[in-house]
Symmetry: C2
Subunit: 420 residues, 2 copies
């Protein structure tokens, strides 16, 4: 894409009321726009990152047998009254609204109730189980405070998968598979090193649940980390759990972190209240055993910014970057323009995602913008590099810089870049 | 995909309160689920169709230079008060809600205001124009009546593009391009033959706008059609426009139809009120000239069902079908099972999207389900067809049936099917 045609521009400053690092950087770099506190729109660069994260999740969910659906935000009060969760004291982040035709509706802060209700139409016998279904859907949460940028929004995109199993044994097999899938996902998006599998409270559903917590000062949680096995214990269960649940190590380190994913054993909490049963092989009705598995897509994006950014700006991992390459032409000579255009065309022909800074702007401005935007590889073409029939390659994450022949880039840019 | 693992099942009857043909068929075939009146979730088959329609739109919008974003549903009252559209008498389909932290919010029924506001951050000079940006976003409309299935929902997915131009002349060039793109789109999704380009009221924005109206008895609109040039005149402007706007033909036929797309000349209605200006080449501020271009994705899906379905069920055009092929094994013999599995594997290897009805069910039940679901090509394998080393191909739309050698399908199924 030509940067001259991208409608966003970098900004010197984020809105004055913005206090979070992730939103500050993402707004200044043109990835997101603040509509109101806790309510952010995704602009072209930000939308690309969000889609990349979502697509990595989607591949994993499909691979594990998940069937994608899209439920609604508008919620039927009657269903939530049955489970006791319509009450604002039980779920304290409801947005509620009224139908002009009469009646009150809610905006889903989570989707256990509608998924359980939905399955009453399709689950009949043990032969229908287990089954897994998921969606990417906007959640609405009426947070009192919203000062963490896209880490805790009032409206945000979430992947939530629900598992329906015959019994706890069948459930546990899937739950453990999913925990592996989540580990892989956080590795893929560049957070693996900073992310711990934690023992957390099961809330009203079960004794314990598990979370994936990424260590960052921007987090609102406290975990106690076992460095030996990348496990941790959440603060709320620390009293009951003094040692590492895996290796029994008692030497745990306190850290500040953010929950980036959770997996919940829901048991029969919802199938009991909403009467979701199946007939077992003897024809006897049994409650369906459920689990839920969430990942906040925007939250993951914000966490990547918090954890990997440096003093110059954002640093995207290759897997989720809006573009792989930021091509920058320096100088106004015809020679530079022609050589840059040729490399741009060659990269496009090789299906390498490239943002080409073709603007009439000073080199310093282009470099500063590029550092702020955080695309993994920078390829600079100037009269100086052309004198050597080369381009300068710079790796955003490490700052490593080297010259490489234009001919090599035209032949196979990925091979050239992969060496770095 | 194996039909035995698809969690939805066909149903004999839709919910009793469902009166629309599109929702009746889509619910019975397992494409959608009714949460409440006018509020429908998309299940695996329905989600696939919705995504296919959206992806066709996305390709067209990208090709015309549109930049994809995702704005929020939650709306800032202050912005809409400036344009005068916060008032429920001006926009009578608002859902409104309250922040726990204090203040009233709306759920966007449309997005002119936030897009105009957004651009105040990025449009500075004539060099920034024209620009086009679009999204697929959920709209919320508090309709008094919701009896048309997914043709008129209270929550639905819409593509809306907004154009920002220097002046009316520049705007008109894009507006006409877009009208061509819309024509192409309705051709691609199988509605071309039934869809008219109509002259409609410009509402409060301009004298006229244009709509794309598809003729169907399920529609709520009335148009006067010129059969000579596929143009029509909407009822609300009929008084002022007695003849075909294109060929001046006065012999127009009254028909019932549904609006499936609209293109609006917004002029400076929003840039004036929200103060969106650019500096022209003399450094003088000028108001930005705007247009908006909508397509309801779910509505298009529902319209396809209304227009193309027959007495047996849905008939999907190839471009938007959940799968291209419905493979059906008839009979329990090992020979049939093996041959069906081989064809299934071959189709998958050829990247042909196939739903394989591998269930232990009677042939009649499988055929009835297949007719209801409406996948374009049916491939049946039974002992009878195997006796001829063949499969039976049936075209859903025409009912045409012929035998084709298994070997040909294994070699190149698309070539075999394309002949029909």
């Amino acid at each position: 894409m030509l940067q001259s045609s991208l409608f966003t521009k970098t900004r010197k400053e984020a809105p004055k009321d913005e206090v979070s690092k992730n939103a500050d950087l993402l707004i200044r770099a043109g990835f997101i726009h603040k509509e109101m506190a806790g309510v952010y729109s995704y602009l072209p660069l930000g939308f690309r990152v969000l889609e990349k994260i979502a697509n990595i999740v989607r591949e994993e969910m499909n691979a594990i047998g998940g069937q994608e659906v899209s439920l609604t935000a508008l919620q039927d009060k009657n269903v939530w009254e049955i489970t006791g969760r319509w009450n604002d004291e039980i779920i304290d982040v409801w947005f509620k609204t009224n139908l002009k035709a009469g009646g009150e509706l809610g905006l889903a802060p989570t989707h256990e109730e509608p998924f359980t209700s939905l399955m009453k139409n399709f689950i009949r016998s043990y032969r229908d189980l287990p089954l897994y279904t998921y969606q990417f859907q906007t959640k609405f949460r009426n947070e009192i405070r919203a000062k963490s940028g896209i880490l805790r929004g009032r409206e945000f995109l979430m992947k939530d998968l629900y598992s329906f199993s015959k019994n706890e044994e069948e459930h546990t097999i899937f739950y453990e598979k999913m925990s592996k899938v989540y580990h892989d996902f956080f590795e893929k998006v560049g957070l693996g090193e900073h992310t711990y599998f934690t023992l957390a409270s099961g809330g009203s559903f079960s004794k314990y649940s598990h979370e994936f917590q990424t260590v960052t000062s921007a987090g609102e949680d406290t975990i106690f980390v076992c460095e030996k096995c990348k496990m941790a214990v959440n603060k709320e269960v620390r009293e009951k759990q003094k040692m590492c649940p895996h290796c029994k190590n008692e030497d745990l380190t306190e850290k500040t972190s953010i929950e980036v994913g959770n997996i919940f054993n829901l048991g029969t909490r919802f199938s009991d209240t909403l009467d979701l049963t199946y007939l077992d092989d003897k024809g006897k009705p049994q409650p369906v055993f459920m689990g839920s598995y969430g990942i906040g897509i925007g939250r993951v994006m914000g966490t990547i910014v918090e954890v990997l950014a440096d003093e110059k700006g954002i640093v995207w991992p290759k897997s989720v970057a809006p573009f792989l390459v930021h091509l920058i032409s320096v100088g106004e000579s015809e020679e530079v323009k022609t050589a840059s255009q040729e490399i741009y065309d060659a990269l496009n022909a090789q299906k390498v995602e490239v943002l080409f800074d073709d603007r009439d702007a000073r080199a310093g401005e282009k470099f500063a913008d590029s550092d702020l935007i955080g695309i993994p590889y920078r390829i600079v073409i100037s009269e100086k590099t052309l004198a050597e029939k080369s381009a300068e390659i710079k790796v955003r994450a490490t700052g490593k810089t080297e010259m490489r022949p234009l001919a090599d880039l035209k032949k196979d840019a990925i091979a050239v870049l992969d060496v770095f």
